[in-house]
């Protein structure tokens, strides 16, 4: 019981923090919020195989019951993907700030006019 309570509370706090930060206006805070949120999601996925202790992780002749290996594989996949996505979001946010001079997620259109056609920055040579 205490294990479940601890685990659920941790997920709840992470989600609350993640949602709060995700709703902020600046990209840095939003990225932090998304990171917290994805931590919570990973923990949640892990718990979907039930929280158990003292069970054999893989085949063992002495074991009578096993821990579910699938959620661990899912979490691993999810961690890799969210890590990549977060890294991309950070770089993108930085680049957007440098080019448009605003780190607001909504942006103010004054600094960024759609009609100004995007300039060509790199043109591969023949």
């Amino acid at each position: 019981m205490t294990l479940e309570l601890l685990f659920a509370t941790a997920i709840g706090v992470l989600v609350a923090g993640g949602i709060y930060l995700s709703l902020r206006g600046r990209t840095f805070q939003v990225v932090l919020g998304l990171t917290l949120f994805s931590y919570a999601v990973n923990l949640f996925l892990f718990a979907s195989g039930r929280l158990t202790i003292d069970r054999a992780p893989i085949l063992s002749k002495a074991a009578s019951s096993y821990a579910d290996p699938l959620p661990q594989a899912l979490v691993l996949t999810a961690i890799v993907i969210t890590f990549g996505m977060t890294a991309f979001a950070v770089v993108l946010a930085l680049r957007s700030f440098l080019e448009s001079g605003s780190d607001q997620v909504d942006g103010d259109d004054a600094a960024c006019d759609r009609h100004a056609k995007p300039s060509v920055t790199s043109e591969p040579s023949e």
């Binding site: 998304l34 999601v41 993108l92 080019e99 448009s100 960024c112 100004a116 995007p118 060509v120 790199s122």
Partner: protein
Amino acid sequence: MSFAAHLAIAPVVIPALAAPLALLSMRRRRRLGVGIGFASCSLMLVVALLLLNAASDGTIRTYEVGEWPAPFGIVLVVDRLSAIMLTLVASLSLIALLHAVVTRTDRKGWHFHSLFQFQIMGLNGAFLTGDLFNLFVFFEVLLIASYGLMLHGQGPARLKAGVQYVIVNIVGSSLFLIALGLLYALTGTLNMADMGLRVAAIGPDDQGLLRVAALLVVSVFALKAAIVPLHMWLPRTYAVSTPAVAALFAIMTKVGVYSLIRVVPQIFGDDAGAAAWVPAPYLLPAAMLTAIVGFSGVFVARELSEQAAYAVIGSTGTLMIAVAGWQEDTLGAAIYYLVHSTFAGAALFLVADVVARRRLSFSDGATPGPLFQHRQGIALLFMAAAIAATGLPPLSGFIGKLLILQSVADAPGWHWAWGTILATTLIAVIGFARTGSAIFWNEARIESSDLSPRFSKSDLAAPIITIALLAALSAGAGPATEYGRSAAVQVMDRAAAARAVLGEH
């Protein structure tokens, strides 16, 4: 296993091989990279047509990756609907690639061709997989590639829209993972067919959780499909993307629609207890709102590309009105309209680009500008694309809308659906007529200092091919609708899918 049995995984393997090859050859031998892109797309089209032909006999082919038996390993499923979607992706990707190469937008960055191939790999995988977690993985593949493609060409406008697009999709992916975790905890499986059998055995205590999980999954798919109120990310993203990329993105919202058509009947069907047909009460009003918002956007948009983006939303709304009926008839009509609306959206983006390139500083804004080259021809193309997007005869949009109207005629609340579809069509017609007459019929007398350079007609090829495909879809409407309907029958037959995937029990 024979060679033919391995055909099912070819749509994933071909782009996965072509992408790194294109990446390696792009720096030194640009032409080779382009050639690899075209070869890969053509090969995929051949494979897709073979699968389309094979699936027409009604058998559901499965491919067990690594020969791991079905509920444990990952399984790919080729039925009629998957085969239709694969063919759609392959033909659309050829058109988009052609336009990118002809207009030289693929030269604005090093990685266009490899990103393009990864995008197609994600799309094909999502349409093939029979495993819910695998669907998530392929979603991520197509998303990360779409981030790169969307930003292709760069510039502050794209970066700003890109930040929003990426953040919205990361949130969507997180929600998808939560739903997956819940479904796995409840059913102990991730295989869609297996899950469809197991939801019936869920105890009364867990019905609430099941309902939450079902609604979460549906909202994630609705986000991908850009259904109101989850559509906000779409117009800006699509309007600022490179036009060839935007044309390819016309199929991205269809991934969400496809997932709904695939997952809801199979998992949340009649046996699913509290989650049986769980999106049904919300989906029809949301779909009607989507159609209204989308086509109103067509009416007020100030540029052709923006108009095309709203037309994509509107057509998704019309499509979802049919899907929300969850009957064989309505799904059959929806599948025909899905194919049509993908090409129609792509045609609009391509025509918008052709106009924008020739009008220079006037771009594709709906304001009178100086005369530009090939005006009459492009005006005809625009008219054809607009006819397709609004659903007027003689192009396939008319047939699609007629089928949808007919199929929902027996449903409760049909007059709402009819009213919405007919009214939004009128709004869209007026909207396209307004921009069309501003751009093609009015001429602004301008002291011509910016003499437009001579354009070759080659960039008209991609829009013409798209319109020709739409014409073919109208001419072959008989077989096409028949195929669509039998695909819908197959999707609704849960037991047959379970037998095919899991073997006899």
